[in-house]
């Protein structure tokens, strides 16, 4: 069932994101061409046109980023909490499947947008010999890697992986915070959106408050010193520990948001 | 077929009457296959179960018979159809008489009124 939900979720969002990427590509190609002589000031009109195209590229980048954000919220809000919710919540699918389908699809679009922007930027920068330069750069990079010690290479890869996981989980938790606020706000009879905003900042405040309490508390009780007094990690290990702790925090946040979302969608669904 | 319903009688009894009228007037000719319950119900805009009940009643009276696989058919027995026709006519006459008596007409007055009306109709036919 999740597979079918994902299919239709991609259908619903792709019709907006794919044209976005097309615009990105077109303006990127345009900017590339504009860079080849349009902007050197010989012809006034060409000059203006060039500036316009490059501006359009900038707007397309912002637009794609903004759209993947708006879509993340809008799909959850419109498809589950507005009129379409009557259809969605009477499908033979569970609340968990609904949340995961929204979460996975919006994450995929976030990542795809970042990749699309990188690709578009490469298109803008492309010139004769650009590919060769890029390959050269890659070769230098690989050579540099070869000179690394095994442990350095190993740790570097793990850092990258940890960082990527952290980024991904933060993205998921970020989306879940919006879902939780919307789901909670829409369990109210009136002023649903207003309540959602209140919930968003309420959650934010509560978590920060709990976080600071935890830090203050552990300072008071000297937890860190007691825990780590006999442990003197190398900087390499310390970075791993920090990254893993950050990942742990994000997972806890995400789990709380997820629990709030499912609780309200299951027990206190109140469609208008 | 025109299907019309009043508000005071059960729908299935009205359906029985109207299918009878259909048979008597030849809208459902003798020996012909009746449309399916679902089609008849859709046409009349009534519940299929109610239509089913009405047809079952007609079947019990013998105006309609069913063959296991082929569906329901109108009887080929003309005397039965004529009897039904007569009983429908008697019902109309009865309600007519009730109304006339209520208006205060005497039997002979009613008869002469009918004759007059029929005579005019004949005159209409003659002039036409």
């Amino acid at each position: 069932m999740l597979r079918k939900l994902l299919k239709h979720e991609f259908r619903a969002t792709g019709r907006i994101m794919l044209p976005m990427y097309l615009i990105l590509l077109v303006t990127a190609v345009g900017s590339n061409l504009a860079g080849r002589g349009m902007l050197d000031g010989r012809y006034h009109i060409l000059n203006i046109l060039g500036v316009l195209i490059v501006t359009a590229f900038g707007i397309a980048i912002c637009g794609a980023l903004l759209m993947s954000f708006v879509l993340m919220i809008q799909r959850f809000y419109k498809n589950l909490l507005q009129d379409e919710g009557y259809l969605m919540f009477t499908l033979p699918a569970s609340v968990h499947q609904h949340i995961w389908s929204k979460l996975i699809v919006s994450s995929v679009w976030f990542i795809a947008t970042v990749l699309a922007i990188i690709a578009a930027s490469l298109v803008v920068a492309y010139q004769g010999g650009f590919l060769r330069e890029l390959l050269d750069l890659l070769r230098y990079f690989l050579e540099g890697l070869r000179k690394l010690e095994v442990s350095e290479a190993f740790n570097g890869t793990i850092y990258l992986a940890e960082f990527a996981v952290l980024m991904f989980l933060s993205l998921v938790a970020f989306s879940l915070q919006f879902y939780a606020a919307l789901a909670a706000g829409h369990s109210q009879a009136n002023h649903k959106l207003l309540w959602s905003v209140v919930w968003f900042f309420g959650i934010q405040f509560a978590l920060q408050f709990a976080g600071s309490l935890l830090i203050i508390g552990s300072n008071e009780l000297d937890v860190f010193n007691r825990l780590f007094s006999h442990w003197d990690p190398s900087p390499t290990v310390a970075i791993h520990v920090a990254l893993l702790m950050a990942i742990g925090c994000v997972i806890v946040y995400g789990a709380i948001f997820y629990a709030i979302t499912t609780f309200f969608l299951k027990k206190h669904l109140n469609l208008e | 077929m025109q299907w019309q319903f009043s508000n005071d009688a059960p729908i299935y009894t009205q359906l029985i009457q109207q299918v009878k009228v259909g048979i008597v007037t030849g809208a459902f000719p003798p020996g012909e296959r009746l449309p399916s319950v679902r089609d008849l119900a859709t046409e009349a805009g009534v519940n299929p179960n109610t239509m089913q009940r009405a047809l079952a009643e007609l079947e019990r009276d013998g105006l309609v018979y069913s063959q296991r696989t082929a569906g329901r058919f109108v009887t080929e027995d003309n005397t039965m159809i004529n009897t039904a026709k007569r009983s429908l006519a008697q019902r109309h006459v009865k309600t007519f008489l009730e109304a006339m008596l209520q208006l205060g007409f005497q039997k002979d007055e009613i008869i002469s009124l009918i004759k007059q009306e029929l005579g005019e109709e004949e005159a209409d036919h003659a002039s036409a």
Binding site: E84, G85, Y86, T90, L91, A93, K266 | N7, D8, T42
Partner: protein, 231 residues
């Protein structure tokens, strides 16, 4: 086994009691009218049967199970508002229903859409309000479900559309299933119903067959309704 059963079903919204100890049972093979004035609790009952609300007390079962994933595959639900995504085309809508419901009869739906002159590439957005309601009903009635819950299917449409909707319901109804039609427009649905349930201020005021009412009281359900709910 009844396809819909409630016992002592209670639902409150804040201080207001929308349903108060409702007990009823609906058997398969019946077209049942859920009748009551606006705000009497009809929609609340239907939403509870669809798991869109959770009861505060009592018990509700659809085909023997509590409303949820399992019951959703047995119930075909027509909400009181247009819930189909308006960006979808007719064909995408058919895909959607076909993917999620195993009992969806795509050919039947295609035939009915074709009959209305709706092109597969036409988007719901481009259709009139009446056509959207018809399309939504076609999707709902094209499922071979065990229970159809139709919330105000004929509210706010013109008389011709009303006739179309009722004949679509009759034409697609199957004898193993039950159809529940909630409405306050009784004169229009009366002929289509086997049974009626009157709901008044969150309570069941009457459950009877249409022919019994007409036979015993000598009046139409509509007339009886006006008498029961006289202001």
């Amino acid at each position: 086994m009844p396809v819909l059963e409630c016992k002592g079903l209670t639902k409150r919204f804040g201080r207001a009691t929308a349903l108060d100890e409702v007990s009823l049972s609906i058997e398969p093979g019946r077209i049942v009218g859920l009748l009551g004035p606006n705000g009497s609790g009809k929609t609340t009952l239907i939403k509870l049967a669809n798991g869109l609300l959770t009861p505060d007390g009592g018990y509700i079962a659809v085909c023997g199970t509590a409303p949820g994933r399992e019951s959703h595959s047995l119930v075909s639900y027509l909400p009181e508002r247009t819930a189909i995504p308006t960006w979808m085309t007719a064909r995408q809508l058919l895909d959607f229903y076909g993917d999620f419901y195993q009992d969806f009869r795509r050919e039947a739906a295609e035939e009915m859409l074709d009959h209305l002159g709706i092109q597969p590439r036409q988007a719901v957005k481009q259709m009139s309000k009446g056509t959207r309601e018809k399309v939504q009903l076609i999707m709902v009635m094209s499922r071979a479900a065990k229970l159809y819950l139709l919330d105000e299917p004929i509210g706010g449409v013109d008389p011709a559309t009303r006739d179309y909707i009722l004949s679509t319901i009759i034409g697609n109804y199957n004898p193993d299933a039950a159809v529940v039609i909630s409405t306050h427009l009784i004169a229009d649905v009366e002929k289509v119903l086997d049974e009626v349930i009157f709901i008044s201020q969150g309570r069941v005021a009457l459950q009877s067959t249409v022919d019994d009412i007409r036979e015993e009281k000598g009046m139409s359900v509509d007339a009886l309704f006006r008498e029961v709910f006289k202001c």
